[in-house]
Amino acid sequence: MDGSNDLKKVAYYPGCALEGTGHAYNRSTKAVGKSLGLELVELENWNCCGAMEVKNVDPKIQTYLSARNLSIAEDMGFDKVMAPCNGCYHNLKKAEYDLANDPKSVEVNERISAKAGHDAYKPGKVETIHALDWIKKAVGEEELAKRVQNSLKGIKVANYYGCMYTRPRHIFPEKDKGPGTESTAKPHFMDDILAAAGAENVEFPLKTACCGGAHSLSDSDMSTKLVLNIIETAEACGAEVIATECPTCHTGLEMHQVRAEKVLGRKTNVKILYFTQLLGMALGLSASKVGVQENLSDSRAFLKEKGLG
C-alpha cells in the first residue's frame, strides 16, 4: 500500500450485511470517514460477494461474484476498494489471489463474464483494503490522537478480529511483512486505532477465534458455545467492551450472547460495539450518529455512564 493521499478517496463496497443487520457498521464507517475528511464513493450497482455460502455450491461462482465488484471499481477509475465487512474483504482478496494463480478460476470467470456481457476482471488492477487499513493508513494514530474530542480513557476493550480478516494467510500477501504491517497471528490494527482514541486495550488471547458465524443458524448450539467462550474470556481479561470489525462476527456475538442466556442460562454483561462506533464517539460524534441504537446489544446506559455519545 503506498502513500496516504490516494486513500483519502476510495471506492466503497458495503456489501449486503451492511444494508441489513450490520447497518450500524455502515452508518458509523461513513460517519467516521466524513469526520476524518475521507471520501467514500460507493460501487455502482454492486452485487453480493458470495459471503460464506456460495463457495459451498461452487467456489468459482464466488470468484465471479467478487471479481464483478472489482471490475466495477476499476471501471469507476479506482485502484483501491474498501470493504468494512470481513466476508466481503476476504472474498475480494481471494478472487484477486485465485485469478492471479489458478488458471481454472480465470477460465470460469472469463466465461461467465462474457455471457453476462461485461469484461472479465484481470488481477492486479484493484487492491482491496479493510476499513482498518483505510483508517490506519489514510489517517494514522498520531493524527487520530490529535482529533480525539471524547477520549475513550478508562474503557477496557477486547479487540476481536474473527477468522476472515487473517485466514487463510496466502490471500493476504501484504500482511506479516514486519513492522507497520498487519500480523495474521496477532492482528493489532484495531488495537492501534482504539489506543490512539484513548481506549485501554486488554490482553485478549481470542482475537482471531471463530464465532461460528458460518453456522450461526444452521448449528446454533455450536455457535452459542463458541461465542460464549469468546465473551467469557473477554470478561475474564477485564474487558467491558468487545470491539468488532465484521458484521457477521458482531451480529453473531450479539445474538448468541442472548441465546446463551436464554438457552444455557449463562448471562454475560460485556458490551459489543463496532470499532467505528467507538472511534466515532471519540471523534465527538453522538451515539445515534454512529448507530448505537441499531445494535442488538444495548449499550446506551453503559456509554452514558462513560460520558460518551
Partner: protein, 246 residues
C-alpha cells in the same frame, strides 16, 4: 496381557473369556481381555479420488498426517469426535465404513480456516471437510445438512437477484428445515429491539419486504451462473458415480 486403556478401544472389538487357561495359568475374566483380530477387505478404492474430484477436496493426497489441522480445529475443541486428520486418513485408505460412523458431524466444520493456516502441506483441510460432507450427501449416506440447506437458500437468492436480504434468508431457512421461526431467543431479541425503537424497526422491516434489494441488469449474470451451476452439478454427480439430482 490385560489391556489397560480399554476406553480407547470400541467395546465390540474387545473379547473377554469367562474361563481360560493358557500354559497352566488361569486367565479367566478380565485377565483374558483381547482385541479381536480383524482383517479389512472392504476398502473403497474410489473414495479418495471421488472426494478429490469435488470442490475443496483437490489436495487431500498431499496429507502427511501430522495432525496440525485437528490440533488447530475450532470444532474439535468443542467436540473431540470431530477429527479432520483422522477422516483424511480414513479417506486416503478407503475405509468407508469407519468414516460413516462420523457421517452426521462432518458437516459441522465452521470454515474458520485455522486448519488451512496451520497445515504445512497446503491440504486445505477446510475444503476437504466441505468436499467430504458434499460426498456423503451425493452418495445418499446423509440427508442434506442444515448447513447445505442454508447455503442453497442463500446462494439461490444471490443468483436470482445479485444480492441477499437477510430476513428473507432466515425465514426461508427455518421453513426449509421445518423449524419454528418463533425460537424463544429470537423472539427475545426482536422484542428487545421493537421495544426500543418500534417505529424505526417496523418501517425497516416493511421496507425490506416491499423493496427487495437487487442488482440492476442482473438477468444475463443470473443465466450465466445458472448454466455454470448445472454444469458443475452434473460434473460432481458424475465424479461420484451418482445418478440424478437432489
Amino acid at each position: 496381557m490385560p489391556i489397560h486403556e480399554k476406553s480407547l478401544i470400541r467395546k465390540e472389538n474387545l473379547v473377554e473369556n469367562e474361563s481360560l487357561v493358557i500354559d497352566g495359568v488361569d486367565v479367566s475374566g478380565h485377565w483374558s481381555t483381547f482385541i479381536t483380530g480383524r482383517s479389512l477387505t472392504d476398502y473403497n478404492d474410489d473414495m479418495q479420488d471421488e472426494i478429490a474430484a469435488l470442490p475443496g477436496g483437490e489436495n487431500i493426497h498431499r496429507c502427511w498426517q501430522c495432525g496440525s489441522c485437528t490440533n488447530a480445529c475450532t470444532v474439535n475443541a468443542v467436540n473431540p469426535e470431530f477429527n479432520p486428520r483422522y477422516w483424511i486418513y480414513l479417506i486416503r485408505l478407503g475405509m468407508e465404513e469407519e468414516l460413516l460412523r462420523d457421517k452426521d458431524i462432518i458437516w459441522q466444520c465452521v470454515s474458520c480456516n485455522k486448519c488451512t493456516y496451520a497445515c504445512p502441506r497446503d491440504v486445505v483441510p477446510e475444503g476437504v471437510m466441505k468436499a467430504t460432507a458434499h460426498w456423503l450427501e451425493l452418495k445418499g449416506h446423509t440427508p442434506k445438512s442444515p448447513s447445505t440447506e442454508f447455503d442453497e437458500e442463500f446462494s439461490g437468492q444471490v443468483i436470482k437477484t445479485g444480492k441477499i436480504e437477510e430476513s428473507r434468508v432466515i425465514m426461508n431457512f427455518f421453513r426449509r428445515t421445518e423449524q419454528p421461526l418463533a425460537q424463544p431467543w429470537l423472539v427475545a431479541l426482536i422484542k428487545g429491539l421493537a421495544f426500543r425503537f418500534p417505529v424505526f424497526y417496523l418501517m425497516r422491516m416493511g421496507m425490506a419486504v416491499v423493496r427487495r434489494p437487487r442488482t440492476r441488469n442482473w438477468a444475463k449474470s443470473r443465466r450465466a451462473i445458472n448454466e455454470y451451476v448445472q454444469e458443475v452439478e452434473a460434473a460432481n454427480r458424475a465424479a461420484v458415480g451418482a445418478k440424478g439430482g437432489h
